[in-house]
């Protein structure tokens, strides 16, 4: 009984860590530009599929992983340069629609060049699972948690210590004032897209050994990450992490105690409840926007 609960909790936290990374990517771009980047899921796909393809081309796993992360980061920066920056004067809704177009485009490229098959990656550790208190823990889950924690801490340090991190924050708080301080806000936005893509790709990569990957995995993972960000109140990074964990846990408990058929319905039930009862999310600002 207890071991079952422990098992579900552990897999929920693992899933939640992935959703949290995706949600942080959404949050970062949302803060810097008020755009909800619906191509975020595609970065996860590039992280997973890119690694698979590079391993297939003969690279050792670590080199393939680095290559996929670089590829995704470049894709993120290019998405900004080629699709978002030229439309800088358009309103936010237009930009969001551009990101939807970009996601379809990226998925199409992946399907064309990398094929439609499902792929798996080897687990990072030779030992597949550990047994603790009657529950089975996948070693890959420990990798996922460890890497997620490292990334979240690195991100926190980046924003609180580095000049570039503070310039991103300043740009998200007040774009005109940032430009008056000499910050090139278009460059900063490009950096935000790059970091966001890197986070997404890392999430897509570390989850591939337990969930498989294909050209279209970004749709579902991206949507769930968006739900996690919305639960936390779009724009709050603490909210993104909490939202991700809440979503992962609810999914795991639903799958475990009710039926795994309903697993994918959970995020959408939650998002409806949030929109009805807490439209600003758990950590969103309560105050109305000042005019």
């Amino acid at each position: 009984m207890f071991s079952e609960f422990f098992q579900f909790t552990f897999s929920g936290i693992t899933l939640g860590a992935i959703y949290a990374l995706v949600a942080l990517g959404f949050t970062l771009i949302y803060n810097a530009s008020h755009v909800i980047n619906f191509a975020q899921g595609e970065f996860l796909m590039i992280g997973g599929m890119g690694t698979v393809v590079l391993v297939g081309a003969g690279l050792p796993l670590p080199a393939a992983m680095v290559g996929a992360l670089v590829l995704a980061t470049v894709a993120g920066i290019l998405l900004h340069r080629l699709a978002i920056a030229p439309a800088r004067d358009a309103d936010v809704v237009t930009l969001i629609i551009i990101t939807i177009g970009a996601s379809i485009f990226l998925r199409g490229l992946a399907q064309f060049f990398w094929g439609k098959e499902y792929h798996a990656l080897p687990r990072f550790s030779a030992t597949e699972s550990l047994s603790i208190g009657g529950a089975t823990l996948l070693t890959q889950s420990l990798w996922i948690l460890g890497i997620a924690v490292v990334l979240v801490v690195a991100l926190a340090v980046f924003f609180s210590r580095s000049k570039l991190g503070k310039a991103i924050l300043a740009t998200s708080m007040n774009k005109d004032a940032a430009r008056l301080a000499g910050i090139k806000t278009q460059v900063i936005l490009g950096v935000a897209f790059g970091i966001s893509a890197l986070l997404g790709a890392a999430a897509g990569l570390i989850v591939t050994p337990i969930t498989f990957t294909a050209y279209d995995v970004g749709i579902m993972l991206g949507l769930k990450g968006f739900v996690a960000a919305a639960i936390g109140g779009l724009g709050s990074s603490t909210g993104a992490v909490v939202g991700g964990l809440l979503l992962g846990l609810s999914e795991a408990y639903t799958a475990g105690y009710i039926s795994s058929d309903y697993k994918d319905a959970v995020p959408f039930v939650i998002i409806l409840a949030i929109l009805f009862f807490l439209p600003n999310g758990l950590f969103g600002s309560r105050a109305a926007e000042r005019v």
Binding site: K163, K166, L169, D176, A178, R179, A181, G182, I183
Partner: protein, 248 residues
């Protein structure tokens, strides 16, 4: 006695900033029309005018935030190919209307972002200390987020942040707006202090009396055109300026 040598006026100092034939529009509505003005090094110049005359637009044009036609020259060079960041690097620094501090960042982070274009760490640390001496309240509150400061303190912060950029030309947009009379005195006290230090300033104000009293020279802007200019004291005595901006 006559002389063959034609009368030569005393050589004018090269202006630090000169605007020539500046026009700017929001969409199809032109708000600045063929505007020209100059600011000499070390001068404090005031620009007064009613709400909607185009004062803030003009400062946004000078800072490179608002596109404009015409020519802007700074320190002898043209700014036509210079973006906002480059202008800050050259020393054109603006204290924007309504403070515009980074409200979620600490007071110290706000000040440090004012030095974003600089890389001279030692001098930046010295300048930070200077701002803390000039605005002791900022030192007391340096770990607080800027959003928790009062309006007057935010104005001090915005001025401190601009000074961290080592301005050669400081643009002040409505520094007294929405502040209590005592704080307004303090703000203009700082403007006087900076003037004494030799910093060139361009002060845009609705509060014409205060601004013209501090300034060496002033311009009056009406619906996008300069309609009067001259010594600050002379403009203060000018009847039409009095009627329009000083309550008769």
């Amino acid at each position: 006695m006559t002389s063959a040598v034609p009368f030569a006026p005393p050589p004018e100092p090269t202006p630090l900033l000169s605007l020539n034939n500046i026009t700017s529009a929001y969409g199809r509505i032109e708000v600045l029309h063929e505007l020209a003005l100059t600011i000499a090094p070390g001068e404090t110049v005031a620009l007064v005018g009613a709400n909607g005359a185009g004062k803030s637009t003009l400062l946004r044009v000078i800072s490179g935030l608002q596109p404009a036609g015409g020519e802007i020259r700074f320190d002898g060079g043209s700014l036509s190919r210079s973006d906002a960041a480059d202008r800050v690097r050259r020393g054109i620094v603006q204290v924007p209307e309504g403070r515009q501090v980074f409200s979620g960042l600490s007071v110290e982070d706000n000040l440090m972002l004012g030095a974003y274009t600089r890389n001279d760490k030692v001098a930046i640390a010295e300048d930070l200390e200077k701002q803390y001496q000039r605005f002791p309240i900022l030192k007391d509150k340096r770990r607080q987020t800027a959003g928790t400061l009062s309006g007057g303190q935010q104005q001090m912060l915005a001025m401190g942040r601009a000074l961290m950029g080592r301005p050669r030309l400081l643009l002040l947009d409505e520094p007294s707006m929405g502040l209590a009379p005592l704080i307004i005195e303090q703000v203009f006290g700082i403007v006087r202090e900076l003037k004494a230090e030799g910093i060139t300033q361009f002060v845009v104000e609705q509060n014409a009396a205060e601004a013209l009293a501090v300034a060496d020279r002033g311009y009056v802007l009406e619906t996008g055109r300069i309609v009067a200019s001259g010594k600050g004291s002379a403009l203060l005595d000018n009847d039409s300026v009095k009627a329009a901006y000083l309550g008769g």
